[in-house]
């Protein structure tokens, strides 16, 4: 299968040396390959470089180094041709407040040179698809955040592009709209569309993405299918919730004895989690030992690793923690 998107060694630095304010290396050599008709999920904490990657691939930003090809066209050499073949929805909805939803989409269609009639038809179709028909002829100024987001996503589909770039497409959508959006995307992918999306929601990457790249500090720190990534962080987890917070330390050292990785402690919920080998048997032994010591539990169980575990293990951070703040990989060694 041919690659719809291919990037090699993307580097982007913001701010110039000697100008004060410092230099930020937003991307530090990222490679991507997205086979046609598949979904790539870019995952990473705030400031990791996801938006920067998308902006480079969609011709909005010129990288300092590296090369990229989208739909068979070189992004740096022929950006105009790339624009004909892609649909883009940025992290923040770029819709015109004073135009109606219909006028926004018709304008985009005309700028794709669809002709006035076709542009109007397509605009109506998309408004229907995104449940915006009722608001179609009202100025966007009166739209809610989720409605704007949906209109912006519709804008990315105006030209039926073979390759779609969506930067946090479901941020700000209610659960219902999010599920609709997922279904819509899955339908398009079945129809052969290639999608690159960034997300803060591990659930979203888990569900939609064939391949996932975890980015942190401008580097791809892991890649693979969600199963591969989960396997990479170890097997089952044992999860215990103690009744009394004073027992946390005691239980932690007990868990550390059987864990094959870091023991994670959440003091405010009194929850301890550790990856183990041979889930249920380990749990039974643990429970017996705790019983003996008189430690009471309010919950205990085993579970498969989630994308949250993947993320935490790889970056040492939860998804909502920004790239710059915590010490890198602080949570991995324990």
């Amino acid at each position: 299968m041919a690659d719809a998107v291919r990037a090699r060694g993307l580097v982007k630095t913001y701010g110039r040396a000697g100008r004060g304010g410092g230099v930020t290396t937003a991307l530090d050599g990222v490679d991507l390959d997205v086979p046609e008709g598949t979904v790539l999920g870019l995952l990473g904490p705030n400031g990791a470089g996801k938006t920067t990657t998308v902006r480079i691939l969609t011709t909005l930003l010129v990288p300092d180094a590296g090369e990229a090809e989208v739909a068979g066209v070189d992004v740096l050499r022929d950006p105009q041709e790339v624009r004909r073949r892609i649909g883009v929805s940025g992290q923040y909805a770029a819709v015109d407040e004073y135009l109606t939803g219909f006028e926004n989409l018709r304008m985009v269609g005309k700028l794709y040179h669809q002709g006035s009639r076709r542009a109007s038809e397509r605009a109506r179709e998309l408004l229907e698809l995104f449940s915006l028909s009722d608001a179609a002829d009202r100025p966007v100024k009166g739209y809610s955040g989720g409605m704007r987001r949906r209109l912006d996503l519709a804008g990315a589909l105006v030209n039926d592009p073979p390759v779609l770039f969506l930067d946090e497409p479901t941020t700000g959508l209610d659960p219902r709209s999010r599920a609709d959006m997922w279904e819509l995307l899955q339908g398009m992918v079945r129809g052969g569309t290639t999608v690159v999306l960034t997300t803060q929601y591990l659930e979203e990457a888990d569900l939609l993405a064939d391949d996932i790249i975890v980015i942190d500090h401008g580097r791809a720190i892991a890649r693979g299918t969600s199963d591969q990534l989960k396997a990479q962080v170890g097997g089952e987890r044992v999860e215990l919730v103690v009744d009394d917070a004073t027992h946390l330390d005691e239980v932690r050292s007990l868990l550390a004895g059987v864990a094959v990785g870091a023991v994670e402690v959440e003091p405010h919920t009194r929850r301890l989690t550790a990856p183990v080998e041979g889930g249920a048997a380990v749990l039974v032994r643990l429970l017996a030992q705790l019983e003996e010591r008189g430690v009471h539990l309010s919950d205990a169980g085993t579970r498969r690793p989630t994308m949250d575990d993947v993320f935490l293990t790889l970056t040492g951070k939860r998804t909502d923690e920004p790239s710059g703040t915590s010490d890198q990989k602080s949570g991995v060694t324990a």
């Binding site: 883009v88 770029a94 015109d96 004073y98 006028e103 985009v108 700028l111 794709y112 040179h113």
Partner: protein, 267 residues
Amino acid sequence: MSAWRSALGDGATIAQRNLIKVRRVPDLLVGTLISPIMFILLFVYVFGSAIPVPAGTSYAEFLVPGIFAQTVIFGATVTGSGLADDMQKGIIDRFRSLPIAPSAVLVGRTTSDVLTNVLVVLIMVVTGLVVGWRITTSPLEALAGFALLLLFAYACSWVMALVGLLVRSPEVFNNVSFIVIFPITFIANTFVPTQGFPTVLRVIADWNPVSAVTQASRDLFGNPSLAGGSDAWPLQHAALYTLIWSVVLVAVFLPLATRQFKRSAAR
């Protein structure tokens, strides 16, 4: 589609979009009109009473072409604030992700702004007529006068486009343009004859293109220059001097603004 046809076609689509905004938010137009109308009233009835005028003419006839010039230049600032606003709201990013000519957004912006200026001029004409301003020449000459005003404003739009793209914030742009345009339109023959200015200011005023466009429209509308007019070359050849300025401004600022558009959006 060839590059320039695409630039014009896409420009028309974008101009249309800008004009929808003018229609939906009439406050913007009202804002552009309030100060020139107030100026006409204040100058005609307050300052005008102290300015000596030969018998048979009126200060209003002298003043109104100057107000026209100032108004269309302020009208051209919409180009800069509009672009800065679109930039801030991310709409420029949407445009840049589409396969349109790099100049299309700017062509569309300057076109819609000159069309808005036509409307502004019409309303100012009515205001002028109310305070006693009259055209005494042929319709063709009068038309040439309006064309020259709008052409000069169009050229100014390209300067505003560059500044708007550089500052990237409509608020900053409005403050900057106000501070610059006020002196430029006052150190000129717009409100009073330049003969009484101190020498340095007088030379500046005589070579100021705002003086030339004002003088040219006075000539073409058959309005008086007062104090015998200036004998400086630009004012003796006011229409030609205005044309030269307009062509030079477009020739310099169209490519600069287009380059800045490609660049600033790519940051």
